[in-house]
């Protein structure tokens, strides 16, 4: 059921970002030397990295939580989420606050990136469908490959990348205990 909802959500955003022939704006950032982009409509703000509270017993890709003007917002280490190593905090490390919609509820989630680059306009005709493999990250995390100055930028399917259900399930496995039947079911 929840997969179905997710799939629908994904379809909607995909249609939004690739459909039409209009030009959409994307925020680009670097992560482990590679360039990524997210639709600007998903981005709420960009803040400096710091004042993070770690949450124990959680998988490595959940870095912790921050206080965003009175709201507690989780921060996800994108590199670790993609299966890579935990990113080290550098001078230009930022947290991009992204809004994701899941089962009619909105969540703010921070993503930790190495550096934020710029806002780009990428016309729909310059966006290629994601390759079946070879991008080093899961194919369903990719909404498309944007061509910018002859180079490819991975446009992220952010609803999928930051799927709360999936991440929560991963977190649960991490804390798996015999008394919790869902961990086994999952």
């Amino acid at each position: 059921m929840s997969n179905l909802v997710k799939a629908q959500n994904g379809a909607v955003t995909a249609a939004k970002s690739t459909g039409g022939g209009d030009t959409h704006q994307y925020l680009t950032f670097t992560l482990g030397g590679e360039m990524f982009a997210v639709g600007i409509l998903n981005v709420k703000e960009i803040i400096e990295y710091g004042n993070l509270t770690e949450i124990p017993m959680m998988p490595a890709f959940i870095r912790g939580v921050i206080n965003l003007r009175g709201a507690v917002v989780p921060v996800v280490d994108l590199a670790a989420r993609f299966g890579g190593k935990i990113s080290a905090v550098q001078r230009r490390t930022c947290i991009v606050i992204v809004e994701v919609t899941q089962e009619d509820a909105r969540h703010d989630i921070g993503i930790m990136v190495d550096a934020v680059s710029e806002v780009l306009e990428i016309p729909a005709r310059d966006i290629e469908p994601p390759p079946a493999f070879g991008a080093k990250i899961r194919a369903d995390f990719i909404a498309g490959m944007g061509k910018v100055d002859g180079k490819f930028v991975i446009i992220l399917e952010i609803q999928r990348v930051l799927s709360v259900d999936e991440m929560a399930l991963l977190a649960n496995v991490n804390q798996a205990s015999p008394s919790d039947p869902e961990a086994i079911a999952a």
Binding site: T53, P56, G64, G70, V72
Partner: protein
Amino acid sequence: MEEIYSVFAQEAREQLTAMEDGLLRMEQGDQDAETLNAIFRAAHTIKGASGVVEIHHVEKFTHILENLLDKLRNGEMQVSSDMITALLQGCDHIGALLDRVDQGYMDEDPAVAAAGEATAATLRAFTGGAATAEQAGMVEASVGTVERAGGDTAISDCWHISIRFGRDVLRMGMEPLAFLRYLLNLGEIVHLTTLSDAMPLAEDMDPEACYLGFEITLRSHATKEQIENVFAFCRDECDLYILPPNSKVGDYLNLIEHLPEENMRLGEILVKSGAITQEELDQGLRRQKAAAKIAEATEQPTPQLGDILVDKKMVQPEIVEAAAARQKQVQEKKTAEARLIRVQADKLDQLIDLVGELVIAGASANLLAQKSGQGSLVEATSVLSRLVENIRDSALQLRMVQIGETFNRFNRVVRDTSRELGKDIDLVISGAETELDKSVVEKIGDPLMHLVRNAMDHGIEPAEVREAKGKPVKGRLELNAYHDSGSIVIEVVDDGGGLKADKIQAKAIEKGIIQPGQTLSEQEIVNLIFEAGFSTMEKVSNLSGRGVGMDVVKRNIQALRGTVDVKTEVDVGSRFIIRLPLTLAIIDGFLTSVGDASYVIPLDSVVECLALQDDATRGHMLNLRGEVLPFIRLREFFDVEGAPPQRENVVVISAGGQKAGIVVDQLLGEFQTVIKPLGNLFKHLRGIGGSTILGSGEVALILDVQALTQLAGQAEERRASPPQRIGAAMLSERE
């Protein structure tokens, strides 16, 4: 518009609850006329309100219900158990109609309508049977009809105002028209008749005097007092009569008699204004006067006032009594309204949020004041923080509701279910006045329902089995609520067969929940019923036993940061104990730190604090005045980096009846903790109950001590099989 409907539905639901309560009480043998009156009033209010918001199918259906109730009230029929069942079904149907209204549909759902038709037919069958009896009775008992004259309610939902301005009103500089205009502020004037009967012949007329009177039908939600206040300035100069909406026909007749104009003329005005119908007027007059004269009465231009006055002596006591009762009722309702204010829940939530921010801001001001070292500033902020604390407590109090309302719903559930099952079961409620957060109350209904139904279906045995066991034939189900150290405890107790450990174990093995060789304590086996896909009853009934039972209950309760336990004894009964936090918003916490991170321990669970002395510990236990106290090193448990400081502290907590220690680096003292939920991402995280924001702006985590001790126990258990350490074995035994 939307709002009107939702308010209507909400109010109607309250009336429905009142009706249901009354009906159940009547079934249990409550013969009090007031109970019946209360039921009737509730039905009538729903009917009136649905008419006002123009949801006619509700009005129509309630009317049928009301007819039957009216018959009961007038003593024309006797209450029977079947009748109450039918009436309760009627209530359910109204509830279903209201659900539809809540969903925003003003029309009737065809499926519901069909069901309603059946119920209506049952209800009509009762009334129909009585109607013939009534006709027969009419001839013999004229006393009965007199009673009805007072009891009949005119259909008008409008206020009726009769005002005769005094002669001097104009001279005193007041204009009648201005009052009427002002009246429009309160509502809509449906009908208005100007009476100039007092006007003398032209030569006798004083141009400065006022001879006018008005009969006004006003549609308004104002109170009688408000309407009276409109005329406050000329109150002494004029005759003012106000009849509330839905007044009895008798009251209208009474009014007619009190007014100086000719009775018939007034009667006609009332009929014209829609306050009463011609038939009602005729009937009323017929009943008050001697019989058989109605035809002439309508034609006869001036029936003598004296005639009626003579009759009045006969009728008066009854009318006066009815009027007095109504007056009292209105007054009671008014005082009840004055004591209660209906506030939208989200406004309250917003207030709580703001208070939460205030607490955080206050904490930060406190911190700064202490850093500055200025005595007067520290004093000022401490006064401030005390006030903030008071505000916090009263704000939270606003959201507290008594659990009684939730409990009372089960009267009906138990009644219906016990009939369905053919068991005789008594419900005993205690602690109904225990208060807890509204948001908790809303969410506890479903789990409770499940437990209650389970207890009745699986717990309490059929009568013959009970008899054979030498127990009272009547089953007993208890719902208890009480406060216990910062949490509220709700118990569902039955005196049934109890849970049979061997049966549960066999079932669990069959379902693959546990392995055949596994040795478990009795309590652990009993707790297996909370596992997913577990149901012991061989026979699946429509009440429970679909295998989606206890695990859902447990999960719902855990979602409220609560726990559920079961204590059971074979052939004596079972006791399900639900433990819930009092509030979901703000708690008193005890702030501690480990490394750089701060952790809040709910103050209610803290017993004492002491310094950790290495020589007194052994494994993960310490000697607390001769008592064995297992403890958790938070630093180890949470993998906090860095070496422990020289001196560590132990916070002794008590959770779910057992004591444990939590070893932290530093104790930072009491802290008002505004709970910020961690969100869905962390919904499976156990051991951490939420987060809060410290005065410094940092986020601190709130420990869920009970889950934490369980987790620690489980972790040890996993490591300890095969047992490696004495401490681990002892710990797992405690679990």
